[in-house]
């Protein structure tokens, strides 16, 4: 086994290339800049396009345009950039434009700390658009995950024709680490479903699926619009047509919830405590669980890699046997609200930290032992 050694951000870029990404537009921001740097080195030799927009809003607009011409697009930013992306992300959600967006999170609010990590944006990514239509958010825990989950992100973006976020963190993106890149198992690549019938209505779709795609610039004329539209892509005020489309935008993602639930579990025999976490924090949780097992006080762990849509069935199933649930997050309590909502009859304890430092395994053990 030979190891590679790179930042999570570079691993994410390599995942994008493996997924067939051929367009990147972004704007520099710490701690996400090295994704842009990597794509600038990797895309031109592959015949892909990599540009720096005049700002974040423009970068997202370039990605939208390129995606509508059939490209597989990536952009990367951090919390302040996600704020600026918001209006364009709403467009991409409502008008079913495939995009992958890497959010290398830093400590907020606002400009916050450029070089300090936190899982600041977990609710923002889900709700930072108008309408409340669901999006997909994946959370890597290390560089290897950045590589693999980016391929999943592209697959989901293509299949569901929606923006997919990768909720990375400064502590993953800018930490260099060793991992076995060559033996990573990547999912098979999913390509956008193309329209192949006679009369093309750009938004005509099965009731729980994304519409088949045709690119702007192809033989068949295509309409794309940010306005409320019917299957023909023209503005509509017909309540039935609107309701049907709104329902479909939800269903296409929620009905596939089980299939897009990615996670890792470490269930230990005879334990009554389950510690749920995600992202970089789950590494400290694993360390804490191993130490506790050595002390004869084992706990089980569940690491979520799909945060949105909320893996409801997984949470219900995996927590059933446990008396005590503890959620640990690198913020003051964002995702724990979803877990409490799903596990409404269970007591869910929480520890969060938002000070620019990683949560240590010692702190997590203290939390577990004090419960």
């Amino acid at each position: 086994m030979a190891l590679s050694f790179m930042e999570g951000n570079e691993a994410l870029a390599r995942g994008a290339i493996a997924a067939g990404c051929n367009f990147f537009a972004g704007y520099p921001i710490t701690p996400a800049t090295t994704i842009f740097n990597s794509m600038l080195k990797m895309l031109p030799p592959k015949g892909g396009i990599c540009v720096q927009g005049e700002d974040e809003i423009a970068s997202m607009g370039y990605c939208i345009g390129a995606s509508m011409a059939g490209k597989k697009t990536l952009t990367a930013t951090s919390g302040p950039g996600i704020s600026l992306y918001s209006e364009q992300v709403s467009f991409a959600i409502g008008s079913e434009i495939p995009l992958v967006i890497a959010d290398v999170q830093r400590l907020g609010p606002s400009t916050g700390s450029a070089t300090r990590g936190a899982d600041s944006d977990i609710q923002f990514l889900r709700w930072g658009s108008t309408s409340g239509v669901p999006v997909i958010v994946l959370a890597p825990k290390d560089a290897l995950d950045c590589y693999i989950l980016t391929v999943h992100a592209f697959n989901y973006a293509e299949e569901f024709r929606c923006p997919v976020f990768i909720a990375s963190n400064k502590e993953i993106g800018m930490t260099k680490e060793s991992f076995d890149l060559d033996s990573a198992t990547l999912p098979p690549i999913v390509e956008r479903k193309m329209f192949s019938k006679d009369i093309y209505l750009p938004f005509e779709a099965e009731q729980d699926a994304a519409p088949p795609f045709l690119p702007i610039g192809g033989k068949t004329l295509v309409r794309q619009t940010s306005s409320t539209h019917g299957p023909d892509g023209y503005i509509t005020i017909d309540p039935e047509v609107i309701a049907k489309n709104q329902a479909r935008l939800r269903k296409k993602i929620h009905n596939a919830r089980k299939r897009i639930t990615l996670f890792e579990e470490n269930t230990k025999e005879g334990t009554d405590t389950l510690v749920i976490s995600y992202g970089v924090t789950s590494r400290a949780v694993e360390d804490a669980a191993n130490t506790l097992a050595g002390k004869g006080k084992p706990v089980s762990t569940l690491t979520l890699k799909t945060l949105w849509p909320v893996p409801r069935d997984l949470l219900l199933e995996k927590t059933r046997q446990f008396k005590q649930i503890i959620v640990i997050e690198m913020n003051l309590g964002q995702y724990v609200n979803e877990i409490r909502r799903v596990l409404c009859d269970k007591k869910v304890n929480f520890y969060g930290q938002m000070n620019g430092a990683l949560i240590s395994p010692e702190k997590i053990m203290e939390v577990i032992e004090n419960e």
Partner: protein, 431 residues
């Protein structure tokens, strides 16, 4: 004559609105140029100009206010064969000013038609970035305290290669639009028009006054010679084509086996310019060649050659989970500002931890082993202190050994730099 107008969706403007003239002018221009419908896209944003995409049988993208040029740029970069025509009102111009400037500078082959009718027609005639100071607009007195924007002059100074201005009632409108579309590079054509639903209700505007306004403004009638340069897409593709080498991920083959190697934590405390990050990389490479797992976090200021530079390295036979430092096994204390940044860790050290301290550096009280080295006396330059310290670590068998270090240096540096590095390592090893 061939027409692209969508018969099922005729223009729906207020009576007398000059947008209708521009719709017909654009159609005629496209027909004159015989643009293939399947290789033409109209990109619009919000407002009355945002209705344009529905009137034509070509590809269409209608998006968020002020951002039309961003989608247009993405489309054109992705498909250079597309004829990309953008319509935008004075509202979109105000909101998306940054994109207009960037498009002028970049010179990607897009055509921007600005439909300037001096106010926000759709929301009640509020003032925009082009409303004359003395006009009566829907925002009360607010426009009386501002001046309107002359976008043609701005575009010229922003590097646009084609800038034209005309009345939307101009008999030669179609030819003028065609001229802008034909131009290879970014072209702007500003049309001055009448918003009969709002603006002209309180402001006297006639075909003659529109012509007079154009006469009073600096001339803008096409190619800007001083800005002439290659089209961006072609330039981009030529430059990108020269980048032929894909950067493969470096792979570190295990070259040796270490017995009883325990998890090591190394913290290098220095300053910018001391090649701290390079030294950190070398320690990691050394670990990798011994088949270990490694991780490295760096902490430095955004400024170059100023401020602290700290590298935190973990080397472990086990997979690394938590990547924070708990209790370092080795600290290289090479500058005061680096030490200040991590002064709390000195209290966490165990008695068998090893500290290499440069003579001039002050460190907090500690129970660890401290070796003081006077690099200055040894005539080792400050930028090489971190590297020399690795030589000391290898000699003493702290975290790395000589063989590991040798493999790491060979991998990190080219031969010339490797030999220079070895000179320093040998110099310090003799002390």
């Amino acid at each position: 004559m061939n027409s692209y107008l969508n018969k099922t969706r005729p223009p729906v403007y207020c009576p007398g609105c000059s947008h209708e003239k521009i719709t017909k002018g654009l159609d005629k221009a496209m027909a004159n140029l015989n643009l293939p419908a399947d290789k033409t896209v109209i990109v619009t944003d919000i407002g009355c100009s945002g209705l344009f995409d529905t009137f034509f049988n070509v590809h269409a993208l209608h998006g968020v206010h002020g951002r039309a040029l961003t989608y247009a740029s993405g489309l054109k970069l992705a498909d250079p064969e597309l004829n990309v025509i953008v319509t935008m009102g004075d509202g979109g111009l105000g909101i998306g000013g940054a994109h207009v400037l960037a498009s002028c500078r970049r010179n990607l082959d897009l055509t921007l038609i600005i439909l300037n009718n001096f106010n926000f027609g759709m929301t009640g005639g509020q003032y925009s970035s082009t409303t004359p100071t003395d006009a009566i607009a829907g925002s009360g007195f607010l426009n009386h305290a501002e001046i309107p924007l002359d976008i043609c002059s701005v575009a010229r100074s922003a590097g646009a290669t084609y800038v034209a201005r005309c009345s939307s009632l101009d008999a030669g409108l179609a030819e003028k639009i065609a001229g802008a579309i034909e131009h290879k590079g970014f072209s702007i054509i500003e049309t001055l028009g009448m918003c009969t639903g709002r603006y002209t209700k309180k402001n006297k505007l006639t075909p003659i006054t529109l012509d007079q306004m154009i006469m009073d403004l600096p001339e803008a009638c096409g190619v800007i010679k001083k800005n002439k340069r290659p089209e961006y897409g072609e330039r981009y593709r030529a430059l990108a084509k020269e980048r032929t080498t894909f950067p493969k991920a470096p792979v570190f083959e295990k070259k040796m086996t270490l017995e009883d190697y325990q998890r090591q934590e190394v913290v290098i405390l220095g300053s910018a310019g001391m090649r701290i990050v390079t030294a950190g990389d070398i320690v990691c490479y050394a670990g990798l060649y011994a088949g270990m797992n490694v991780s490295m976090k760096n902490d430095y200021n955004i400024t170059v050659l100023r401020g602290q530079s700290v590298s935190e390295i973990l080397i472990s036979p086990e997979k690394i989970g938590y990547a924070g430092i708990k209790s370092p096994s080795v600290i290289l204390a090479l500058s005061d500002e680096g030490v200040l940044r991590r002064k709390k860790i000195f209290a966490t050290l165990s008695p068998d931890a090893f500290i290499l301290k440069e003579k001039s550096v002050t460190i907090p009280e500690t129970c660890a082993n401290v070796l003081e080295i006077d690099f200055r006396k040894l005539k080792i330059k400050k930028q090489d202190w971190a590297l020399a310290s690795l030589g000391v670590m290898a000699k003493k068998g702290k975290t790395i050994n000589k063989k590991m270090l040798d493999h790491a240096l060979k991998s990190r540096f080219n031969e010339k730099v490797y030999l220079l590095a070895m000179e320093i390592i040998e110099k310090i090893s003799k002390v």
